[in-house]
Every structure is written in C-alpha cells, then in structure tokens.
Symmetry: C3
Subunit: 363 residues, 3 copies
C-alpha cells in the first residue's frame, strides 16, 4: 500500500509539485516524518517542525513555497482538511482480520451472506440475518436473528446487533457498540410521583411509592446508509415502531440513543451525548460532547449545541445553544458575564443602601 | 403468537367491544396499523391518525366512542399506559436464540444449570457458576466462576458477569453490560493533593505529586430480583463488602454504579447516570438522565432528580431537585428566573447610582 | 490463601500485636467479621461495630487500644488506607480463569505469547500480536493484529484491543473496555456551520448544510505501564500519530479518551469523564466524575476538577476548578453564594428604586 505523489494528487484532485514519482507509504506529522513519509504541514505553523523530521515530501497550504522548505515534492489541496479524508482512506492499513468466514464463527444455516463478506473468529450470525456484499465483520461480534446490514460496511470487534435491526450500506460500527437493547420503559400501576412532579414542576403530591412494570420493546432499530456508530455506544429498540438514525449521521463513543428516538440525516452526536426516549433530533444538527436531551421533545434542523449543554425543552431550527438549561449561546455568554460581576453588584447595592438611608436621614 | 381481542382483554383485565374474535398479531401506531394490527390510540390526539392506517381494532381511552372511529373492535383499559406492560409482554417476539445449550458454548463441568436454561453460541460459563431455571443466556456472554443468577432471567448478547456476582430472579441484563469490574480505588503513599483540596475546599496545599497504588476489590456485586440493567452499563465490585442493587430497581444504558454503592429497591437510574463510590441511593428514587452523584453521600428515599443534576452533597428523603449543584427544583427555577433578569438589574443599579449621586450633589 | 497476622504485618510493614499466629482468610467490615476474618476498623467510629461481629483480629488506627476492644490480635499501619493496597492484593481471590491457553481460544499462529500467559475461552489473538510474560487474558477478549501488551497484565472479560495498539506492563483492563476504535473525525467539503459558529461564538453565518466525510484513523493507541482502564471505557486511535496514556494513569468506567489525546502520567480520570479530540491532559491531574474537556485544549499538571466540571478552555497547572464552565473552585463557591442571595438583591434594588424616586419627589 504505497503510492506516488502523482497518484495521490490524481486521487485527491490536488496539485503536485517537484519529483512526483516519490513513493509514499505513510503519513506523518512533520517532526516525526521519515524520508518515505508524506508530512502533513498544512499550515505555516506546522511546517516549522519539518526540519526536526526527515520528510522529502509534504502536503502544504495553498501558496506555500515547497522549495524554500527544502522538500523534493509537495501536494497542495484547496481545503487540506477535506483532502485528509481521501488521503487517510488510501493509507488505511485495515484491521488484519483475514478473508472469508472464519471456521470458528457460528453462522446460522439460514443466514444470507453477500459476495465477499468476511466474518471474524468467534462471531455469531443469527437465523435469517442478511449481510450485504463486501461487509467485513470482525471477531466476537453478535448479529441477531433477522438483522440486516447493507453492503460494504465494517462491523468492529465485539459489536452487538440485536434481532431484526436494519442497517444501511457503508456503515462503520465501532468496537462494543450495542444496537437493539430493549428500551428503558416502565410503568407504575397508578400515577407515580415522577408523573406528578413533572406536571407540577416539583411537587410529588400524595403519590405513594410504587414498583415499576416493564413495557417490552416490540419495535427495532433502523439505521441509514453511511452512518458511523462509536465504541460502546448504545441505540435502543423502539416500543412499537423503530428507533431511527438517518443517512450519513455520525454517532460517537458512549452515546446513548434511547427508544423511539428519531435522529435525522447528516447529524453529529459527539462523545457521551444522551438522547432520552421519543425525542426527535433534526438533520444537520451538531450536539457536542456530553450534551443531554430530555425525552419527548424536538431539536430542530441545523441546531448546534456546545459541549455539556442540557436541552430540557424544544429547540427551534438553526439555533446555536449552550448551558444548563440550554439557552442561545449569546444569552449564555451574557448571563455568564453578569454572574462574574455579581460581587461588584452586591457591593454597589450595599453602598447605595447606605447612601440612600443617609440621604433620607438628612432630608 | 397471535391473540383474539377477547383473549387480550381477559389477560389485561380490560374491557372489550365489538367483534372480539378479531385476531391480532402485532401492535402498531395508528397511522402504521394494518388490518390485523391493534392500533394504540389511547388519547384522542392519537386517534386522529387512525384514518391514515387500516386498523380494524384499537386500544382506546376510557370513554372513547369506538364505533364513531370506524373500528370493528376495541379495548379500553383504565390506565392505558399500564396496560402496555401486559400487552407488549404478550406480543414480544423474543431474540430467536434457540433452545438448550449451544454446542459452541464453553460451560464448565462444575457449573449448575437449572431446568430449561438456554445458553447461546460462544458463551462462557465459569466453574461452579449457578444459573436458575428458565434463564436465557444469549450469544457471546461471559459468566464468571461462582457467579449466581436466579430463575427466569434474560442475559443479552455480550454481557459480562464477573466471578462471584450474585443476581436474583427475573432480571433483564441488556447487551454489553459489565457487572463486577474492579472498583476504581487507589491510594497514594502520603496524603494527596485531592485529599487536601477536598478538606480545604479548593487548596491543594503543599502536597507533592505522587503515584497511585491499587486497592483490590475483594467484595462482589449483589443484585436483587426483577432488576433491569441497561446496555453497556457497569456495576463495580465492592472493596470489602458487596456493591448492592435492590429488588425491582431499573438501571438504564451506560449507567455507572461504582464500588460499595448501595442502591435501594424500586429505584430508576436513567441513561448515563453515574454514582460514585460508597454512596447510598434510597428506594423509590428517580435519577433522570446524566445525573451524577458524588462519592460517600446519601440520597434519601423518594428523591427525584431532574436531567443533568449533579448531586454533590446529601439529599433528604422526598426532595425534588435539579441543577449543578443540585438544589430544590423550585429554588432552581427561581434562581434561573433571577439570572435571566440580571441584565435589567445591572441597568437598574447603574441608574440608581446616577440618581443617588445627583441627589447627593443637589443636597 | 490464608496468612498469619505476623505474615501480614511483615508484608505490609505494619506493627502486629497479640496472638500474631492467628490465621486470616478474609477481610471484613467490623459488623460482618467472622472469627477468622481480619476486621477493618481503622477509625474509632468503625471500631464501634466490632461487637456486632465476631472478629478476633482487626486492623486499627495508630494509638488504638486493641485489648480494650476485646481482640486477640491487631495490626496497626501508619497510613491505614495505604496499607489496604497491600492487604487487598494479598487477599485477592482472582477471576478463576484457569491456566494456559484455553482450547477454544483462537490464537493466530504468528502471535507471540510470553511465558505463563493465560488466554481464556473464546478469546481471539490476532496475527503477530505479542503478549508479555505472565499476562492473564480473560474470556471473550479480542486482541488485534500486531497489538502488543507488556508483562504481568490482566485483561478482563470482553475487552477489545484493536490492531497495532501498544500497551505497557502490569496494566489492568476492565471488562468491555474498547481500545483502538476509530477517531470521530469528519470533514465537510466546504467550511461548515460549526466551524463558523466556533469562530464567531454563536453565529452559523451563511453556511449551507453539508454531509460529512470520514477521516480514517491511521495512528493507534499507546498506553504506558501500570495503567488501569475501566469497564466499557473507550480510547480511540489517533489520526496520524498515536493517542497516548502515560504511565500509572488510572482511567475509570465509561470514560472516553478521543483521538489524538495525550494524557500524562499519574493522572486519574474518574467515571464517565470525556476528553475530546487532540486535547492534552497533564500529569498528576484528577478529573472527577462526569468531567468533560473540550477538544484541542490543554489541562496543566496537577489540575484538580470537581465532579461535573466542563472545561471549555485551557487550564493552567495546579489549579483547582469546578463548574460549567469551569472556574477556580473558590470563584465558583462565591458565584454560587451570590446566586443564592439574588432574591434579596432584587428586593433591595426594588426598595432602593422606591426610596430614590420618593427622595427625588421630595427634593
């Protein structure tokens, strides 16, 4: 897996300079680069470290003088961060799982595997499951009965996909993700303290303590094409209909998507985000790390929520929010400035009280 | 697995109307319902979608006019949400894991399996483990040496139950849950900066940087009857005694219950809740999503904490709390209202300062 | 595995009193202790429960009168919490996984296993992986191609270690941890709304909605010696270079360490902490439970962050912080006191307005 500078440039639609026959086997940061590596020096600041390494070729920013940097060859792409997508895809060494179905895998006789499917050691594929052509399944994976996975996916080590889950094409599912756990859905025989506290904003009323009874999850999970699901993330089954994740949505590690949630397309759910039951998240949304979203609400398209935001009520489309509870980002910044100045305000008011009481006395 | 309307009504203690011999194979939301489905239209708002589907039978709210809705049969239960528990249990299609012990499972010769226990492919049952009658164990599960699980439980794909863990009857453990990891318990040779900062509320003092030494977990985990544990949740071993989870408590996905924690009965720990070491959570408590609880404190019975609440100190029984740090919900709402009006307050004080300084001058 | 009081004292460097030939098989809390247990009564308050149990021997605090407590033997260590490290290590009963390589494990012919390595049932060791002497690997574990693990480690049930990950000696990796998932790294063809909102602190500008393209992770993960990684925690691969965790750092359950992150040595990341991409965490840092750290920032050495702190910008070395967003702990306490008194402040200002308007009228 090595490529000439010319081949890389052609593949990325980048411009190539110098000795474009130089052969590249690896990408490297400038200071770590060896003579056969392509150094990634896409900003002048990064290029300063080139002399610490031994790079002969680098990817540079638009307008860079590659010769002045002492290089033998260079690549320049208009949006270098975007070029990284193609470049890293070319150079990906893969997982080394081998080809075909490993003899230790337990594949049900009724499962259908497309052309070129690989199944790693000690993985289980259930009855009537269907795996699309070219999908690679790692070791210690469980795929449940009647589950479906589209073409050209990658299912990493220890992933658990439950019965009847349907997943589109070209997905990446990271180690340990659990898709199709049962929803966290329980009910008390009588109206509970939580139901009362929610209705009254804080008062549990006379509700007596009760035990919960399980509502079973009869729905499953439906995941679109080109979706990524992070390590040890969880997506639960719906109660009656399916929980849904739209095309091209990317879900990070340890994210929880609860039962009945619908996530739109082209949305990012970053690390440790939690979406409670029956909530709808729009398309082109970005929820940064550790964002939480209450159950049964709607987060509109193109909403961006900063890290740690707790969304307790509906958010209109296009809003940029932050805080606990979530408010518009500029409101949050203003509230925060005020808080930092509260000490002064208390002093001012104390001073005013003294002045006014004196004025009153002297009147 | 199909039932007549009459059979369903008898099983749920609901009232049946119309052609109660209609046979139901599936539950559906009103708009999605086919002619053999039972549509769930337990509120007038839901019933509005009935014409979009093809339901001939529906579960309705008390007082609904089923004939006016164009149905051939109907069920009415006094608390429809509670009826869902029985209804979904009847209709649950299960995981399709098959019966008996799969030949690829590695069951230690000294393990004791009760009548009707099923063990999925590629699961491991350790020495002297005991599994109660009727418990179903999915694929890729690990059950450690001397672990005990009661009757009629469901242990989903990839669950890890460590040596010596004891679990009651009728539990549901969701995919990837890890029960019996070692506690996060370390100690420095001398008093550490954290110990000093805690004692002084913020000052690390002269503590020099040190390395941590591991305290091994000799206790295990004890889990009651009718408990549910969510996907990829973790419950750690106690240091000397066991970590405990009481009967009928429900734990959601990605929840962390640390070493030595004691959780009472009939408590809900929702998604991504974290309980730090040696803390006690009462019975009939509800901690909503992403709540965090500090170590070595007590949260009383019937406490309800809203989403994202961070509980840093003891909470008396029955309190409804919210915020970071946690305060009574009504206090939180009031504090928040004040914060939203701080801009006005700063303006008012600025105006007062001007007025008072003018008054002083004119005196 | 039982020891005399004399043996224990010698091993811990503790003082022994009374009948030091008493043989101890178990540690216990005072109230639970049987006649062959060592009761842990390292504070006078704990010793009060000794009469409820049957302990004949106890570990006590410096200066305790063991005879007055009715004991036959006692141990006194200068820092009892530190003595617990050695004591619990001696008494640890282990996981009961057995010796050698279980016949059901799938170990690639090119993998190199050191002396005394044990591999549990149904575990997978990939091509050219190297496992150091004495390392114990549990059941259902996956170790990827070319991964390296040092000597004397413990790799618990269901751990997933990806291709090319390098791990030092004497590590403990808890059940279900996933090391070497791909980084959450995506790029849009054009500048995205998030990039604009970050640059402008809240305004998405005219950015049109776009789809994300994957940046593959070519780096791996490098973990030092004596590291602990918690149950279901995740550590992602770096993009070009490795994600790194320094020696003796301890990582708790459900923690996420994102791609390119560098964590120093002797640092504690407590339960559910999340560190976003490319951030650097210093040495001797403590991040308490549910702390979040934004991407591309630096947290200095010896920083201590209280539970739930959200670190959105750089933190200098040695600082003790709390809150969302993070501020110095004493600043946080002051801000919080102010917030609790805002109701009074609003009243005071209202009173002042009335008084001043009256004064103005009477002038």
């Amino acid at each position: 897996m090595s490529y000439t500078i010319a081949e890389i440039a052609a593949s990325l639609g980048a411009e190539a300079f110098g000795d474009t026959s130089l052969r590249i086997a690896r990408l490297a940061e400038p200071a770590d680069a060896g003579p056969d590596d392509l150094a990634l020096a896409t900003k002048p600041a990064y290029a300063e470290a080139l002399p610490q390494g031994k790079a002969r070729a680098a990817m540079l920013w638009d307008g860079a003088d590659w010769q002045a940097l002492g290089l033998k060859a260079a690549l320049i792409a208009p949006r270098p961060r975007f070029a990284m997508a193609g470049l890293t895809a070319m150079m990906d060494p893969g997982e080394g799982w081998g080809e075909g179905v490993h003899p230790s895998a337990v594949v049900d006789a009724t499962a259908e595997l497309g052309d070129g499917v690989t199944v790693g050691p000690l993985s289980v594929i259930g009855a009537r499951a269907r795996i699309g052509a070219g999908t690679r399944i790692g070791p210690n994976v469980t795929i449940g009965a009647e589950a479906q996975i589209g073409d050209s996916g990658v299912i990493r080590e220890g992933v658990k996909i439950a019965a009847r889950v349907r997943i589109g094409a070209r997905v990446f599912i990271q180690p340990g993700a659990a898709i199709g756990g049962d929803g966290f859905s329980f009910v008390t025989p009588e109206v509970s303290g939580v139901e009362q506290a929610r209705a009254s904003l804080g008062d549990q009323g006379e509700a007596t303590a009760q035990s919960y009874v399980r509502i079973h999850s009869l729905g499953s999970v439906r995941i679109g094409d080109d979706v990524e699901i992070g390590a040890n993330a969880t997506i639960d089954r719906g109660t009656i209909r399916d929980t849904e994740v739209g095309d091209r949505t990317k879900i990070d590690n340890l994210v929880m998507v609860a039962h009945n949630v619908i996530v739109g397309s082209d949305t990012l759910l970053c690390g440790q985000v939690g979406i409670a039951g029956s909530t709808r998240i729009g398309s082109n949304v970005v929820l940064a790390g550790q964002v939480g979203v209450s159950d049964n609400i709607t987060v509109g398209d193109r909403v961006i929520a900063g890290g740690g935001t707790k969304i307790l009520s509906k958010v209109p489309a296009g809003r940029v929010i932050l805080g606990y509870p979530a408010v518009k980002m500029d409101t949050h910044i203003e509230m925060y400035k005020h808080m930092r100045r509260l000490g002064r305000l208390f002093q001012d008011v104390a001073g005013l009280k003294k002045a006014v009481s004196k004025t009153a006395q002297t009147d």
